[in-house]
């Protein structure tokens, strides 16, 4: 039995988000991590395989049940197959977030052979022009679509992830229909976080406003979801989602049970560690993972502080024990404090759009 299980104040370390590469073979206008462009994966740091193997070994007694391979672009990792094999041998679930450019039928079958595999592929429009406007590389749309087909043919139910910008807001249903045709199992709609390149996109007025996002979420949750065989997930804070949809899903923030592992081998709250050094906790292979998971001051503050330390509308929100502040990393990036309020909810309140039924106090 692990120390973490014995100590009720320390939750299990359920998932490690592994940022496998520092580079990416796309140049997305909105990326919150702003990786360096790297056409073939040879130019920038990748997570050493032996470091990953050691981390999995240390994390298993702490409760590790899954790893998420993300990036940069995880399939740029020259030894991606070895990483999948290590995870598989450890019996931990493998999740992959990819742009799909390198997801061949062989790679799809490799992932499909891992324990409880799950793959998401980013496709931001129903046509090449829209997708590639955002992703920055010609030809990336066809390859992403091919990736979804390859994954589906390998027996997976891949998720299409559509990031919402002004340019593609009119294509939500078209992307759902395209995902159906490609064999996807679900579609997730993400809003752009105002971090790194995402902040630049916001300043360029290329992002939908809170009101547009709330309206789009309502259409997806209340109408479109009933007209597709796939599950749809509109990723806005839970205060804005219908209770019936929340009750039927198992979506709540995983912040209490995740840890980031950067391509440099550093542990961090998540990928935000690439932007905010205060949220880096140590180095894999050098620092003991159990010590970090149990003893990190930041992680301890988060465990003790959620949800009661949340500020502003997030502190008063009736959903805050599920939402857990939406994104503490984003809060820290924007405000220098994890406790928010989260930018979306703050703007919604300022604009009179925050649902009055979801706020504590008399309405």
């Amino acid at each position: 039995m692990s120390d973490a299980v014995e100590d009720g104040s320390v939750p299990p370390l359920g998932t490690i988000y592994c940022y496998l590469t520092e580079g990416c073979n796309l140049a997305c206008r909105h990326c919150w991590l702003a990786p360096k462009f790297d056409a073939d994966g040879s130019g920038h740091a990748v997570l050493p395989v032996d470091v990953f193997e050691g981390v999995v070994r240390e994390a298993k007694p702490l409760g590790l049940s899954s790893v998420k391979f993300t990036g940069g672009e995880p399939l740029l990792h020259p030894r991606f197959g070895d990483l999948v094999e290590i995870a598989s041998k450890a019996g931990v679930s493998v999740q992959v977030e990819t742009n799909g450019l390198l997801c061949t039928p062989e790679t799809a079958r490799l992932i499909a052979g891992a324990p409880r595999p799950f793959v998401s592929v980013s496709i931001d429009g129903a046509d090449a022009a829209t997708h590639e406007w955002l992703r920055g590389i010609a030809g990336s749309f066809d390859k992403a679509c091919r990736a979804v087909r390859n994954l589906s043919e390998a027996g997976l139910a891949p998720q299409v992830v559509m990031t919402l910008v002004r340019e593609n807001m009119g294509q939500i249903e078209a992307v759902v229909r395209m995902a159906e045709r490609l064999g996807a199992g679900s579609v997730r709609f993400n809003m752009v976080e105002p971090t790194a390149r995402g902040a630049d996109l916001g300043r360029a007025n290329a992002l939908p406003g809170v009101e547009e996002l709330v309206a789009a979420g309502r259409i997806v949750d209340s109408d479109l979801a009933a007209r597709t065989r796939m599950s749809l997930h509109f990723d806005i804070p839970q205060a804005f989602r219908p209770l019936g949809r929340i009750a039927r899903s198992d979506e709540s923030c995983g912040i209490l049970t995740i840890l980031g592992l950067l391509s440099t081998g550093h542990y961090a709250l998540c990928g935000i560690g690439m932007q905010v050094k205060e949220l880096v906790f140590g180095m894999a292979g050098k620092d003991n993972l159990s010590g970090i998971w149990r003893g990190s001051r930041v992680l301890g503050e988060i465990r003790a502080g959620l949800p009661q330390r949340l500020q502003g509308v997030c502190g008063r929100c009736l959903m805050n024990s599920r939402c857990l502040g939406a994104c503490l990393a984003q809060n820290y990036y924007r405000l220098g404090s994890m406790w928010g309020p989260y930018w979306f909810c703050e703007q919604a309140e300022e604009q009179g759009l925050f649902p009055s039924t979801r706020v504590g106090g008399t309405v």
Partner: protein, 96 residues
């Protein structure tokens, strides 16, 4: 609670109905909140200190389609949860 009990809503609790017929029961004194589906909303509205849970279960069975056998047990369970969290009390002298 028992099926013959007549639940009484805590008078400070507010029923906040939403557009999809679900609702939040909110206690402003404690900030406790419970989300509930349309059946739960009906149970809350029926509970006035005079109707027993048995009567309320019968009303639910009439007003909603596809109500399964044994739904009275689920009504009882829901009322127990609300009572435990201070949303319901039981009317004096109404216990069976």
């Amino acid at each position: 609670m028992k099926l013959d009990d007549a639940p009484v809503p805590n008078p400070v609790v507010v029923l906040r109905e939403e557009s999809d017929d679900w609702a939040i029961l909110f206690n402003p004194d404690t900030s406790a909140a419970v989300g509930t589906n349309p059946v739960g909303v009906e149970i809350w509205k029926q509970a006035d200190g005079t109707r027993s849970l048995r009567d309320i279960a019968a009303t639910v069975a009439r007003r909603f389609s596809n109500v399964p056998e044994g739904a009275s047990g689920e009504v009882l369970s829901f009322a127990d949860e609300l009572a435990r969290d201070g949303f319901f009390g039981v009317a004096e002298g109404a216990e069976g």
